[in-house]
């Protein structure tokens, strides 16, 4: 299936990018950005995840079915987060009768 094999150079570059991103996460942790600390850390993490999936796990060159599996998994994570936040973000929004 995956006749495409990336060159060693590509792998090294991706690896370097991952290391840089890790250093960036560490560096940002020392700066106080208020609530944005989390946002920045997560954004970097998502980029790293994409690099690993697309290059190291060959999703870039895989079949539609493989991509569907990846997409499905992300969607399920989305369900978990969305529905949990549906509770968390609306606590106390509606009154409880009799209380």
């Amino acid at each position: 299936m995956s006749e495409h094999i990336d060159s060693v150079k590509t792998y090294v570059l991706v690896f370097a990018a991952l290391i840089c991103a890790t250093l960036a996460t560490t560096a940002v942790a020392f700066v106080d950005l208020g609530p944005f600390s989390v946002v920045v850390a997560l954004a970097i993490a998502v980029c790293k995840m994409l690099l690993v999936a697309l290059f190291f796990m060959h999703v870039r060159h895989s079949t539609k079915l493989t991509r569907l599996v990846l997409l499905g998994a992300l969607m399920w994570l989305g369900i978990l987060i969305l529905m949990t936040l549906t509770d968390f973000s609306t606590r106390g929004a509606l009154g409880v009768p009799g209380r």
Binding site: L65, G72, A73, W76, I79, L80, M83, T84, T86, D87, F88, T90, R91, G92, A93, L94, G95, V96
Partner: protein, 541 residues
């Protein structure tokens, strides 16, 4: 002895002998039998805990065991039955054995992984068993925090590790099935020619692969908090206990469909075979399995209506819960429509299938009561809930399992079970079941809380009825255990297709040859096409 004179045909059971040929086997059929032996042991272990619970509940006082012991009993009952019996029950035994055969494959896609998944279940089981012998666990099978992370002085860690390991067994089985269904179908076996048993297992596998990792993560977080006091769930450490319930039920509501979907697949096969008609609305029944799997992930909050979950989220989850009932109802109506003008015979598997339909319907409809916010506040954490899920899990899933076991027993072992005894035990189980669990609906509605062993005297009559039913049920379960083992030696020799069924598994000898089929089957018909079977029967004589 005619059989002795004939050279014995080689099949998967006599192809090799010795303990090593079993413990290192990569044959999906033998692995299915290994699983069968394992889960049977766990079933009787879980049954022993249930027996003690029911005996304790004979009287309003707590006179047999202390409160602490009682807490451990219902916890160990739930943990054993759910994680080590029901989750693996049909997929890992009947699914393992028959899914490849039904699509005309020689084995699962990853035979070694299949063996590994059995070992994982055994190792996980041993961890939990160790915890039980060492002193037990008392958190309930639900491990609610912060009790499980900060207060319980019992063997939470060993049990959780056991469930964690067994979870990977479940994930690997699901993965194996998905890949097998995608890549190993025989020529001509298109998606819409697959038996509904296979569709049901496809849907089940999706849940196992998508849901179980979340359970694993959740249990790890519990361990982190319990061992290293990292604040995740305990408010005293800055955590949120309701977060645990979200994570736990994100897996555990879909998990109830891991238990029931395979049983629905079995029932589809049985209903079709014993009314000699294709399943009415095949496509609808196939898709309803998949939609149950997907919708099942959107309703978990119905277990948390009184957990301080927000009222708005409660309304959303309540609303969505009603949707899951639609595909379930589609199945029930289509099975019933299949019976219409069918040529029905009342063999034992069919009795179990009828039992399933009736009891699952009651369990499902009471699920709708519970999904209704206002009613749930009244009956949550009472025996009404206990009755609800036992109607589905015992009345539904175990009936499906026993029905399937009888249906395929001739194929698995090459022997028939004794029909008279089998019918008697099916009837005993049905009566015993209803006597055990119907009174629990009333008890719960009247206010008997679950997980208590001391109760007001006015509840005693109903509790005594329930315990009486449980003893009938126990007898009902012992009889098949005895005659099935008996039949291995003394049962009538089974022919290749004793029921005149249509699946590919019936087109090969009983018991099947080592590689299932002497030559790869080529599929030219839809599933459940009885005209071809009739022709074959006429040809053979």
């Amino acid at each position: 002895m005619i059989t002795a004179a004939v050279q014995e045909r080689e099949h998967y059971l006599n192809a090799s002998y010795g303990i090593k040929s079993w413990l290192l086997t990569k044959d999906h059929k033998r692995i299915g039998l290994l699983y069968l032996a394992t889960i049977t042991l766990f079933f009787f272990l879980g049954g022993a805990f249930a027996t003690l619970i029911r005996i304790e509940l004979l009287t309003p006082q707590g006179d047999l065991v202390s409160s602490e012991t009682y807490n451990k009993l219902f916890t160990m009952h739930g943990v054993t039955m759910i994680f080590f019996f029901l989750i693996p029950s049909i997929p890992a035994t009947l699914g393992n054995f028959f899914l490849p055969m039904m699509i005309g494959a020689r084995d699962l896609a990853f035979p070694r992984l299949n063996l590994l998944s059995w070992y994982l279940l055994v190792v996980g089981g041993l961890f939990s068993l160790f915890a039980m012998l060492a002193g037990g666990v008392d958190t309930g099978w639900t491990f609610y925090t912060p009790y499980s992370t900060s207060y319980s002085n019992t063997w939470v860690i060993a049990t959780a590790v056991g469930i964690f390991i067994a979870g990977f067994s479940s994930i690997l089985t699901g993965l194996n099935f998905i890949v097998t269904i995608h890549r190993m179908r025989a020529p001509g076996m298109t998606w819409f020619r697959m038996p509904l048993f296979v569709w049901a297992h496809y849907a089940t596998s999706l849940i196992q692969v998508l849901g179980t990792p979340v359970l694993a993560v959740t249990l790890l977080l519990v361990l982190c908090e319990r061992l290293f006091h990292i604040g995740i769930f305990d408010p005293a450490l800055g955590g949120d206990p309701v977060l645990f319930q979200h994570l736990f039920w994100f897996y555990s509501h879909p998990a109830v469909y891991i238990m029931i979907l395979p049983a629905m697949g079995v029932v589809s096969e049985i209903i079709s075979t014993f009314s000699r008609k294709p399943i009415f609305g095949y496509g609808f029944v196939a898709f309803s399995s998949v939609s149950i799997a997907v919708l099942g992930f959107l309703v978990w909050g119905h277990h948390m209506f009184v957990s301080t979950q927000s009222v708005y989220a409660g309304m959303v989850f309540s609303f969505l819960s009603y949707f899951v009932a639609i595909p379930s109802a589609i199945k029930v109506f289509n099975w019933t429509a299949t019976l219409y003008k069918g040529s029905i015979s009342f063999a034992t598997p069919m009795l179990y299938a009828f039992g399933f339909i009736g009891l699952f319907t009651m369990g499902g409809l009471t699920g709708l009561f519970l999904a209704c916010l206002g009613i749930d506040v009244h009956v949550t954490d009472t025996y009404f809930v206990v009755a609800h899920f036992h109607y589905i899990m015992v009345g539904g899933a175990i009936m499906g399992f026993l029905g399937g076991l009888h249906f395929w027993w001739p194929k698995m072992t090459g022997r028939m079970y004794p029909e008279g005894w089998a019918k008697l035990s099916a009837l005993t189980i049905f009566l015993g079941f209803n006597l055990t669990f119907f009174p629990q609906f009333i008890l719960g509605y009247l206010g008997m809380p679950r997980r208590y062993h001391v109760y007001p005297e006015e509840f005693q009559v109903l509790h005594v009825l329930s315990t009486a039913g449980a003893s009938v049920l126990a007898v009902g379960y012992m009889i098949p255990m005895i005659y099935l083992i008996w039949s291995l030696r003394y049962g009538q020799i089974a022919v290749a297709n004793p029921w005149g069924a249509t699946g590919l598994e019936w087109k090969t000898a009983s018991p099947p040859p080592l590689h299932n089929f002497d030559e790869t089957p080529i599929v030219t018909h839809e599933a459940y096409d009885y005209t071809t079977v009739m022709e074959e029967v006429i040809e053979v004589g």
